[in-house]
């Protein structure tokens, strides 16, 4: 950067350069562009190829298992009969709790920190900590949750514990993406709203939340995609590896129709099911593991793809 500036300056100060010299200089600069672009291309291709190979490997190994039955069967001692029914139901319910706990709290915190909190050393401290939390290894969250939810609040090794744990993990991601989305709203737009007599609350409700919606949603989906593959914290809080039943249904036909018993149910999730099968000596189970891995990756890809698509859709109407 510095060097380029230097050269620019030289070019300006020696405007007596001949046309030939100017041309060769431009050529040299363009060569640098080309070199950088080529190196970048090679590196990114290598990375993508590695990922692709892993994914294709999983798909090839697991392909024969990925059938309708695989999704509707419980795990079994016989590899051929085993499926991921309890695992994907478990994952879905856990993610539901994660979503319900992390999103309202995270979005509200983001809005508060950005719009209402006074800017001083304390808010700086919170800012640094929240950003750091997003990078803390997930097993630490598992340990925290073990102490807080399992032993402290006596929630047990249950779906609600797992959901809240992953919620904790997702919280900083939601907060950070909320704040970034809010910060990208131009000051001129806020001032326009204040100038017609809007209160702070109206500005937040009618403008800030609406214009940052795309960014927040993207953060939420990316956070969920991360949560779906998390294994370490869920193991730490005591997810079971072999679950041959479903949690009690939330809705029933008899009184009182709605039940929250499922929250207290023990559970397993997709990555743990995969981990369990992988640790069996019998090779037949490894195929199940590969199939589960492929399912997780596809789910993650779908979620990330949705995030990108939504961001594109929503940003299309907002130009700044």
């Amino acid at each position: 950067m510095e060097k380029i500036n230097q050269e620019n300056l030289n070019a300006q100060s020696t405007s007596s350069k001949t046309l030939e010299e100017v041309r060769s200089m431009i050529k040299a600069h363009k060569r640098n562009d080309l070199i950088f672009a080529s190196v970048g291309f090679v590196v990114i291709t290598l990375i993508l190829l590695t990922l692709l190979t892993l994914f294709i490997d999983l798909v090839i190994d697991g392909y024969p298992k990925i059938t309708y039955d695989f999704f509707t069967s419980f795990p079994s001692r016989r590899a051929a009969n085993a499926g991921i029914f309890s695992a994907w139901v478990g994952s879905s319910l856990v993610l539901l709790i994660t979503f319900l706990s992390a999103v309202p709290l995270g979005v509200a915190s983001g809005i508060y920190l950005e719009e209402y909190a006074p800017k001083n050393w304390f808010s700086d401290l919170i800012e640094v900590n929240v950003s750091n939390l997003a990078g803390v290894p997930s097993i630490i969250y598992g340990l925290l949750a073990l102490g807080l939810f399992v032993y402290g609040l006596k929630l047990g090794h249950t779906i609600v514990t797992a959901g809240l744990t992953l919620g904790l993990l997702m919280l900083p991601i939601v907060i950070v993406s909320t704040r970034e989305a809010i910060r990208s709203i131009p000051i001129a737009i806020r001032e326009a709203a204040y100038a017609v007599g809007a209160t702070k609350w109206q500005v937040v409700l009618h403008h800030v939340v609406q214009y940052s919606f795309g960014g927040i949603l993207t953060g939420v989906i990316i956070g969920m995609a991360r949560a779906i593959g998390e294994t370490a914290p869920v193991i730490t809080i005591g997810a079971l590896t072999f679950i041959a039943f479903l949690p009690p249904p939330p809705i029933s036909l008899s009184y009182p129709f709605i039940s929250f018993e499922w929250l207290q149910s023990s559970f397993t999730v997709l990555p743990i099911q995969m981990f369990n099968w992988l640790s069996r000596p019998d090779h037949a189970f490894h195929i199940n593991a590969a199939a589960t891995g492929a399912v997780i990756i596809v789910l993650t890809l779908i979620m990330n793809g949705t995030a990108i698509w939504l961001r594109y859709k929503i940003r299309k109407n907002i130009k700044w």
Binding site: P118, K119, P186, A188, I189, R190, E191, A192, A193, Y194, A195, V196, G197, A198, T199, Q202, H206, H207, Y211, N317, I318, K319, W320
Partner: protein
């Protein structure tokens, strides 16, 4: 409207303004804003024109640490706009503002104009429709947009966007309208449109406009104030300022010897 001050709508008295970092951007500034007239603020970049304008609708309150001293009185009720006891929201409901760069909300044309009414709790669809149409007509934009009120405001041209912002500021029947270099981001034709519009608007309200363009001040304003380094150097009828200013500094500035 009853007048007690010979057609003066508002008046800044000995106004000092300090930014949060301690910069004193305005020094003992006084200025009358005449009713149904256009008052132009001119002066070199950085002399405090925007700072002064933004005192009138308490825009500086949005950022902590800014401090006003002195008064801006709003007539006929003698309300001191800068008084701590006066809510800035109330002030902004009476004094509206148009910014340098068109800044419509990423909403429909209709919603942009209706926003000020919604903020005031207006629920009646009929009434809002009526006001939106009136404001768009007042901003000479109605004919261009009446068939596509639900289009996004961003799809309008720059000049149309600025007129939309004027309609937004107009919809709530303000007593004073502040303009901060409203044409500096626009092409010459759009500029002429806005200038003509302002001359029409002054029949309804009083206008205070910052402009970096002296010809513009000469063309559209009734009164002109020359500011320099945070001070009000001279204020007078526009004709007088441009033909026979009393201060040497003003003359130097308008004749282009300086600035």
């Amino acid at each position: 409207m009853a007048q007690n001050n010979l057609g003066i709508k508002a008046e800044a008295k000995d106004l000092n303004f300090y930014y949060a970092n301690g910069t004193q951007a305005l020094k003992n500034v006084s200025l009358p804003v005449h009713e149904n007239k256009i008052t132009a603020l001119i002066g070199p970049s950085g002399c405090g024109k925007s700072t002064f304008l933004r005192c009138f609708n308490r825009m500086h309150d949005l950022y902590p640490g800014n401090r006003y001293e002195g008064q801006i009185l709003l007539y006929p009720d003698n309300t001191n706009v800068l008084s701590k006891g006066v809510d800035p929201i109330e002030v902004r409901m009476r004094i509206s503002m148009v910014f340098q760069k068109p800044n419509p909300f990423p909403k429909s044309i209709y919603e942009n104009v209706a926003y000020g009414l919604r903020v005031r709790g207006e629920k009646s669809k009929v009434k809002i429709d009526e006001k939106v149409e009136e404001a768009l007509k007042g901003a000479s934009l109605w004919n261009e947009v009446k068939t596509r009120l639900n289009d996004l405001a961003f799809n309008l041209s720059g000049g149309q966007q600025q007129r939309l912002c004027i309609a937004r500021a107009l919809a709530t029947d303000p007593e004073i309208m502040l303009f901060d270099e409203p044409t500096s981001a626009l092409d010459p034709i759009a500029t002429v449109n806005i200038e003509e519009l302002m001359s029409t608007l002054k029949n309804k309200l009083s206008i205070l406009v910052v402009t970096h363009n002296m010809q513009q001040a000469a063309r559209i304003s009734d009164y002109t104030a020359y500011m320099y380094l945070g001070e009000m150097i001279e204020f007078d009828a526009t004709d007088k300022i441009f033909t026979n200013p009393s201060k040497k500094e003003t003359e130097d500035y308008i004749t282009g010897k300086f600035g």
